[in-house]
Symmetry: C2
Subunit: 412 residues, 2 copies
Amino acid sequence: MKQSQLFTKTRKEAPRDEVSKNAQLLIRAGFVHKEMAGVYSFLPLGLRVLDKINSIIRKEMNAIGGQEIFMTALQDKNIWEKTSRWSDDVIDNWFKTSLKNGTELGLGFTHEEPITRIMTNYISSYKDLPFSAYQIQTKFRNEARAKSGIMRGREFMMKDLYSFSRDEKEHDEFYQKAGEAYMKIFNTVGVGDKTFKTFASGGSFSKYSHEFQTISDAGEDKIYICEKCSIAVNEEIIKEQNKCPECGNSKLKEGKSIEVGNIFSLGTRFSEALGLTYNDEKGEKQFVIMGCYGIGPGRVMGTIVETLSDEKGIVWPESVAPFQVHLLSLNEDKEAEKVYNELEKAGIEVLFDDRDTRPGEKFADSDLIGIPWRVVVSKKSLENGGVEVKRRDGDDGEVMSIKELIKKIINN
Amino acid sequence: MKQSQLFTKTRKEAPRDEVSKNAQLLIRAGFVHKEMAGVYSFLPLGLRVLDKINSIIRKEMNAIGGQEIFMTALQDKNIWEKTSRWSDDVIDNWFKTSLKNGTELGLGFTHEEPITRIMTNYISSYKDLPFSAYQIQTKFRNEARAKSGIMRGREFMMKDLYSFSRDEKEHDEFYQKAGEAYMKIFNTVGVGDKTFKTFASGGSFSKYSHEFQTISDAGEDKIYICEKCSIAVNEEIIKEQNKCPECGNSKLKEGKSIEVGNIFSLGTRFSEALGLTYNDEKGEKQFVIMGCYGIGPGRVMGTIVETLSDEKGIVWPESVAPFQVHLLSLNEDKEAEKVYNELEKAGIEVLFDDRDTRPGEKFADSDLIGIPWRVVVSKKSLENGGVEVKRRDGDDGEVMSIKELIKKIINN
């Protein structure tokens, strides 16, 4: 895409009331727009990143058999009353609204209740199980404070998967697989080395649930890492047992962290409340065992910005970058256009800075936007036989031919 | 995909309170779930159709230069007060909610106000124009009645594009292009021959706006078609001038219709209210000229069901079908599995009915679900040298080899 066509521009300043680093950088670079505290619109560059994160998540969810669906934001009070989660005394972050006739509705902050009701139409026999379904959909949470940018929004996108199993054993197998899929996702998006599967309280149906926590000073959580097992425990668990649940190691390393995902065994909490049963081999009625598995793609995006940016701007991992190459023309538009066409022909996504702007501004914008490969076409680079190529996360530039560049990117 | 793995099943009956044909069929076939009147969740088959419609729309919007973004549902009262659209007396279908501190918020029923405010950050000079941006995002409309299934929802997906131009001429050119892109979309999804560009009132800034109306008995609108020009006028226009605005023909043919899209010149209504200006070549401040362009992908899906289904069920056009082939094994699972693998290898999307179910039920389900190619593997078909192939919209089946089948589908 030609940058002269992109409607966003970089900005020197983020809105004054924006305190989080992720939103400051994303607003300055033109990825998101702040509608109000905790409510962000995604602009072209930002949506490209979000779509890539969603594709990575979708791929792993499909790989473990997840069937994609799309539920609604508007929520029917009746089903939430059955699980005792309608009252604002129990759930303190509901947004509520109402129909013309006065009927109260909620805006979904999660979807256990509606998906359990949906499944009462489709599950009747043990032959219908196990399976899982997921969606990537907008959630609403009426947070009293919203100061973490796109990491804790009042409106945000979430991938939530729900599993339906016949018994504990079947559930545990899927739960294990889902945890592994989560680590694959965090590895692919570039925060795997900082992200720990973290033991948390399990509620009534299992000893533990698990969070996926990414080490970051911007985190609102604290975790305690067992370096032997590469796992962590959260604050609840450290208070209870003060040691690694896997190896017993009590020398745990404290760190601030961002919860980028969580997986939870629900047992029969929702199937009992909403009557989701199946007939087993003997013809006896049993409650379906459920699990839920969440990742916030926007929070993942914010976490990447928090953990990988530097003083000049954002540093996107290649897997989620809005474009692979940022091509800068320094008054060599004709030659640069040729490079642009060749890169696009090779299937490489290019943001081509063809704007009539000072070189210093182009370099600064490129560092702020954070595309992995910066390719400069200048009088100097052409004299030296090609284009100057520099990684956003690397130090020095290197001059090479377009052919060499394409080979380098594709083999990367 | 193997049908034994798909969590949905067909149902004999739709919910009793469901009066629309589109929702009755879509619920019975397992495409959608009714959460409440006018609020539908999309299940795996339904989401596949919706995604295909969205891809077709996205392709045409990108082709006319639209830049994709994703705005929020939660709406800031301040900007809607500036355009006098906050009050429930003016806009009678707002859903409203509020923050913990009492601040009132709206749920977006359209997005002129927020996109105009966003653009005040990015438009300053005539050099920044023209351009357009669009989103595919969930809208909320508090309809007093909701009886048209997924065609008029209280919560529904919408593609809304907004154009930003320097002057009327530039705007008109884009408006024309957008109208052509819309007809391409309706042609591709299979309702082009029944869909008419329809003249409607233009508001303060232009003589006409345009609706895209698809002839259907399920329609809530009435249009008057000029068969010479292949355009139509709506009820407002017929009252005013009682003739075709293009050729003057006054023999117009009346029909019931569904509004599947509309395009509208906004002039400076929103740019004046929200201060969206640019400096022209002479350095003088001018208001940006805007247009808006809407299509509801869910309504398009409902329209396809209303206009193309028959007494046995849905008939999907190939472009939007959840799968291209419905493969039915009649007690020949081993042979059918081979066919399944070959079709998938050829890049054809197959729903493979591998369930342990009576043939009659498989045929009835296949007709209800409406996948374009039905391929049966039975003892008889194998004896006759292959598989029995029948189009959902055709009459007789024909036996052919897998190779011939693949060729036939790919060349279709």
